[in-house]
C-alpha cells in the first residue's frame, strides 16, 4: 500500500478506535473470514464473538444482527447488520473512503459497486446451480450461468492486477475470498488469469493475518467433521451430494434451542 493510503487509513482508524469498538460475529471457515480480511486491510481494531455455526444453537444477540442466524454479523455503535458483502462495503465506505472504496463521485464508483454485487449475486448462485446439476435460463437468471459468469469475471479482470486495475478495493476482498473457494473446488481449470488473481490476493499480508485469525479460532468436533466433509466434497465431485445432504441434516435441529 502506498504511504499516503496507509496514512489516511490510520487516521480514520484511530478516529474509530477511540469512539467505539467493532464487534464481529464470526466462526472459522465461514464467510466471516471475508470481513476479518477487510478489517485487517483497514487496520481497524475489532473484537470477534465466536458463533459455532456448525451447531444448532444461536444466541438472541446474534439473531438481532443476523435474522437467519448466519455469520458474519457486525455491530458498530448503533449499526447492526449482516451479510459479508454488505459489511465489507459498509466498512470500506466508512473507514477506507478513497482507498478501499472509490468515493461517491469517483468515476470508478459504478464499476466498484458492480463488482461488489458480483460475488453474492452472480458467482455464488451460478456455482450453486452448477453443483446442483440443473441450470436455469441464463437469460432470466440474474447471474447468467457458470460459463458466462467466468467469462465476465476474467474479462473484467483484464490485465489486473486488481478488479479496478491498479487499485485494490473491497471488491477484491469479496471476489478474492469467493475465488479462494472456487479454486479449492478446481473451478478455474483453464482460467490461469483467475487463479493468478486469487494467488495475488492470498499473498496480501492482511489476507494472511485473516487466515491466522481463523486458524487460531476454536473448532468444535462438529466443525471439524464438517470441514473434513467439505474438503472431501471439494476434491471429489461424487462426494458433493452426500456431503450437502449431511450438512442439511445436521442443520435440522432448528436455529435456536
Amino acid at each position: 500500500m502506498p504511504a499516503g493510503q496507509a496514512r489516511q487509513v490510520t487516521v480514520l482508524a484511530s478516529e474509530v478506535a477511540s469512539a467505539r469498538r467493532l464487534k464481529l460475529y464470526w466462526c472459522p471457515n465461514t464467510r466471516a473470514n471475508r470481513v476479518v480480511w477487510m478489517l485487517e486491510e483497514l487496520g481497524l481494531d475489532y473484537e470477534t464473538v465466536h458463533v459455532d455455526v456448525f451447531r444448532p444453537r444461536r444466541s438472541d444477540e446474534l439473531l438481532a444482527v443476523s435474522p437467519m442466524g448466519k455469520v458474519p454479523g457486525l455491530e458498530d455503535g448503533d449499526v447492526r447488520m449482516c451479510d459479508s458483502s454488505a459489511i465489507c462495503l459498509y466498512l470500506a465506505d466508512r473507514y477506507g473512503r478513497g482507498t478501499f472504496a472509490p468515493g461517491f463521485d469517483d468515476p470508478d464508483r459504478g464499476r466498484f459497486l458492480q463488482w461488489m454485487i458480483f460475488a453474492p449475486g452472480v458467482i455464488e448462485p451460478a456455482v450453486t446451480e452448477m453443483f446442483g446439476g440443473s441450470a436455469g435460463d441464463p437469460r432470466t437468471n440474474g447471474w447468467g450461468d457458470f460459463g458466462r459468469m467466468i467469462r465476465a469475471w476474467e474479462q473484467g479482470l483484464g490485465d489486473g492486477p486488481w478488479i479496478l486495475g491498479d487499485r485494490f478495493t473491497a471488491a477484491d476482498v469479496t471476489l478474492g475470498a469467493t475465488g479462494v473457494l472456487c479454486k479449492r473446488f478446481k473451478l478455474f481449470r483453464g482460467h490461469p488469469a483467475l487463479s493468478d488473481y486469487i494467488a495475488r490476493c492470498q499473498r496480501r499480508e492482511a489476507f494472511q493475518r485473516a487466515l491466522a485469525v481463523d486458524r487460531a479460532g476454536p473448532k468444535s468436533l462438529p466443525a471439524r467433521a464438517q470441514a473434513l466433509a467439505m474438503s472431501a466434497a471439494a476434491s471429489l465431485a461424487w462426494a458433493r451430494k452426500p456431503t450437502y445432504r449431511l450438512l442439511d441434516w445436521l442443520r435440522r435441529p432448528g436455529e435456536k434451542e
Partner: protein, 196 residues
C-alpha cells in the same frame, strides 16, 4: 445519462430509481431476443444484460449496483442514508437482498433443487421470505418510515414475484407491493415501461 433498457426486465428498477431521484435520462432500448449485443452495451455490461448505465465516464451494469450508485451520487441522505448514519448498515444489507437472497432462493425453489440452507448464502426460500417479512416488521418501508433505494430493489422483486406467481401467500409482502405501486415514481416507471 443513458440507460440500456428492455421491456419487462430488471431495467424497470433503474427506471423507477431515476424517476424517484428526478433525474434526466435517455433510454436506449435493447432487443434482448437478438443473438448479438452492441459493443456499446457490452462495454457497460459484460454479459450483455440490462439494465446498464452510462453516466459520463461511468459505465456499469446490474440493477442493485445502479440503484446504489445513483442514490449515493444524486440523492444522498434522501434515497440512501449517508455514510455515517446509523441506518447505512441495514440499508446496504437490504440492497444485497434481491440479487443475493430473493432471486437465488426463488430460482432454487422453482427448479426443485436440493437446498442446503446452512451453506447457501440465501438460506432457502422459506427463510428468505421470513427474513424479509420480519425486516418489514409492521413498517411501511424496509428502514421504517423512510423510503430508500432498498425499497426499489425489494419492491420490484415483490412486484415481479407477484406477476410470476411466486410471491407466497403473504399479507405483509402483498401490502408492501401495493404501497410501492402507489408511489408516483413507480407509476411513472411502469407507464414508460410498457409504452416503449
Amino acid at each position: 445519462m443513458k440507460l440500456y433498457w428492455g421491456p419487462g426486465t430488471r431495467a424497470f428498477r433503474a427506471v423507477w430509481m431515476l424517476e424517484e431521484a428526478g433525474l434526466d435520462y435517455e433510454r436506449v432500448p435493447v432487443d434482448l431476443s437478438a443473438p448479438e449485443r452492441s459493443s456499446e452495451l457490452l462495454a457497460a455490461s459484460p454479459m450483455g444484460k440490462v439494465p446498464a448505465l452510462r453516466d459520463g465516464d461511468v459505465r456499469m451494469w446490474d440493477s442493485a449496483a445502479i440503484c446504489m450508485y445513483l442514490a449515493d451520487r444524486y440523492a444522498p441522505g434522501r434515497l440512501a442514508p449517508a455514510r455515517d448514519e446509523p441506518d447505512r448498515g441495514l440499508y446496504l444489507q437490504w440492497m444485497f437482498f434481491s440479487p443475493g437472497a430473493i432471486e437465488p432462493a426463488t430460482a432454487e425453489k422453482e427448479a426443485g433443487r436440493l437446498s442446503v440452507p446452512r451453506v447457501n448464502g440465501w438460506g432457502n426460500f422459506e427463510k428468505m421470505v421470513d427474513t424479509w417479512e420480519r425486516g418489514l416488521s409492521g413498517n411501511d418501508w424496509i428502514l421504517g418510515d423512510r423510503f430508500t433505494a432498498a425499497d426499489i430493489m425489494l419492491g420490484s422483486s415483490a412486484l415481479t414475484m407477484r406477476s410470476e406467481g411466486t410471491l407466497p401467500g403473504s399479507t405483509v409482502l402483498e401490502a408492501y407491493a401495493d404501497r410501492c405501486l402507489a408511489r408516483g415514481a413507480c407509476q411513472r416507471a411502469l407507464n414508460r415501461f410498457i409504452d416503449r
